[in-house]
């Protein structure tokens, strides 16, 4: 713990966030897009826990926030997967390129 400065951890979390963003924009499969979103949420979790541990060790705000983020991410994934299943039933595909009923 002693040897790792905060900036290293922030670098990892920012990299994770950007990787998740890149995945969300380039992937065409909805499940993979959902995984990218989870990646972004988890990078924010790393941020919160690291800030709490290094900068404000006497309070627990950050750790609690990350617990709530995990909970909400689960709820969001549940609804999103239900929607994706229904999309598969109506479109017989979970590729976003096939969901083109509505355009300008």
């Amino acid at each position: 713990m002693q040897g790792i400065p905060l900036t290293h951890i922030l670098f990892v979390s920012t990299a994770l966030f950007l990787i998740g963003m890149y995945g969300l924009f380039t992937r065409r499969n909805l499940i993979t897009m959902l995984m990218s979103i989870e990646l972004m949420l988890n990078s924010v979790n790393i941020n919160f826990v690291a800030f709490n541990k290094y900068l404000y060790p006497d309070k627990l705000d950050g750790i609690f926030f990350s617990i709530f983020i995990i909970t909400i991410a689960a709820a969001e994934a549940a609804v999103a997967i239900a929607i994706i299943i229904n999309l598969y039933r109506t479109h017989t595909s979970i590729d976003v390129e096939d969901a083109t009923e509505m355009k300008y």
Binding site: L41, F51, L55, F65, A80, T90, H91, M102
Partner: protein
């Protein structure tokens, strides 16, 4: 102390109570929709009325939850909108198999909005925001067999998840810099350091997605078109109004030290939003899509009022949103009745509507006049106060730009009025028998449109509640 939990959380308890009642009805014996619907609407009416009594100010849970007269009034506006939407959905829900689930989803969403409005802490705010978007995404998918509905729900859940990721990154950076999540402590720490500006921009883009301000508006039209009309009405009125209420109070209190930054941001965003909303609204043919772009343009006007940063600015935003509830719900009410009964959705189908359905035509006409801002209707006064508040900063270029765009917006609103009154149609919509609940809702909306602008006590009342910024 125990009484505090009962009285300060009164409106939240009411919603939770209705949720439980509906859950028990769902688990119990099957009751026909025709007997159930008047009861549910009665409960919602009771819910609205309960907001006017026994109000107190105070804080709970270590400043996590706060309430005061202004917040109670904002919640009342949301309750009123929910009641009107529920009454208008009568015809559609009457034959629907999953009646109770519809109310469960929307009531859960509105409970989340209440917690978001009352939040005094970024954690509470985030929880409320998510609680108000996830159920709505499920409600967008309510026409399970329709292709468009599931596509719209997919677009909504992905884009709202992405926007909340950006919001969370902003919150985490604010937390890292200041070490606190409380709204009351944050202003002391905020400065114009670059990292604060970055985290503010991330937070603001989260807000921008929810209110569909322009760079973040791309999901709006598709979701509005694909969702069932009642859910579209809920999205465009209740969701949007709740996030705008929070945006105003967060910008005016928490982010006050960054006032210069957000003023420039709002200046830019409102101009782009109005212009894009107007230009795209002109070329729409589907009425729901048209109303989506018109609501984007309206958000641009609201942002001008927000940019004022004064008591008058906050008042004009709340006042405009109250009027917006009436006028937009009147328009959506007519669209939803015609969509449910005759299954007609485009402007061509509405030609010569006046010959067969004079009442619906007049309601839609007055609603469109109010959205455009024609003087005797309330929409004119709403827009007037927004621009007045915005002009207090002395940026007359922005006000001139907005006024010119008002002229453009007349073109596309009046195009529909012209189609209904003047254009001939070989296959007009048959006469529609409107049931009493939707009719009552439309009459309430009409009364609101005509009275809210002329009753100037309303504006002064809201103004008195917005003090203490």
């Amino acid at each position: 102390m125990a009484m505090d939990y009962l009285i300060l959380l009164k409106q939240e308890w009411m919603i939770a109570l209705i949720l439980f009642v509906l859950l028990f009805i769902k688990l119990g014996k099957d009751i026909p929709n025709a007997t159930l619907l008047p009861w549910i609407n009665g409960l919602l009416c009771l819910n609205l009325l309960s907001g006017f009594f026994f109000n107190q100010e105070g804080m709970l849970f270590g400043e996590m939850f706060q309430t005061n007269a202004r917040l109670v009034m904002e919640k009342n506006i949301l309750n009123l909108a929910l009641l009107l939407i529920s009454m208008q959905a009568y015809d559609w829900l009457l034959a629907h198999k999953h009646l109770i689930e519809f109310y469960l989803l929307l009531l859960t969403a509105i409970l989340g909005m209440f917690f978001m409005l009352s939040s005094g802490n970024l954690l509470m705010f985030y929880l409320g925001l998510e609680m108000s978007t996830i159920p709505v995404a499920a409600a967008v998918n309510f026409d399970l067999t329709r292709k468009q509905s599931s596509e719209a729900a997919m677009k909504m859940i992905i884009s709202s998840a992405f926007s909340s990721c950006l919001l969370l990154l902003g919150i985490s950076l604010v937390y890292g810099m200041s070490g606190t999540l409380l709204f009351s402590e944050l202003p002391r720490h905020l400065s114009s350091a670059p990292l604060y500006i970055l985290s503010f921009l991330l937070l603001f883009s989260g807000f921008g997605f929810k209110i569909s301000a322009v760079p973040f508006h791309l999901w709006t039209a598709d979701v509005y078109e694909g969702a069932p009309v009642s859910v579209t009405a809920f999205l465009s009125v209740v969701s949007k109004a709740s996030v705008l209420f929070v945006l105003v109070s967060v910008l005016y209190t928490v982010f006050k030290p960054l006032a210069d930054t957000w003023y420039n941001l709002l200046y830019l965003l409102s101009m782009v939003t109005i212009l894009t909303g107007n230009l795209f609204a002109i070329r729409q043919n589907n009425l729901k899509r048209f109303l989506a772009f018109s609501s984007i343009a309206q958000v641009g006007f609201i942002l001008i009022g927000v940019s004022a940063g004064t008591q008058a600015g906050m008042t004009s935003v709340i006042y405009f949103l109250l009027i917006y509830v009436f006028s937009n719900l009147a328009a959506f009410g007519v669209v939803s009745i015609i969509g449910a009964v005759a299954d007609k959705h485009t402007i061509e189908d509405y030609r010569a509507l006046y010959k067969s359905n004079p009442f619906l035509t007049w309601v839609l006409t007055i609603a469109l006049f109010s959205l455009a801002g024609v003087p005797p209707t309330a929409g004119f006064f709403g827009k007037y106060f927004l621009l007045m508040a915005g002009s207090a900063k002395g940026n007359y270029g922005l006000i001139l730009f907005a006024s010119l765009n008002l002229v453009i917006s007349f073109y596309y609103y009046l195009r529909i009025v012209k189609a209904m009154f003047m254009d001939p149609n070989e296959k007009p919509i048959d006469h529609i028998q409107v049931s009493w609940l939707p009719k009552l809702a439309l009459i309430i909306c009409l009364a609101g449109i005509l009275a809210a602008g002329l009753a100037n006590q309303l504006y002064t009342y809201i103004f008195s509640l917005c003090s203490g910024l």
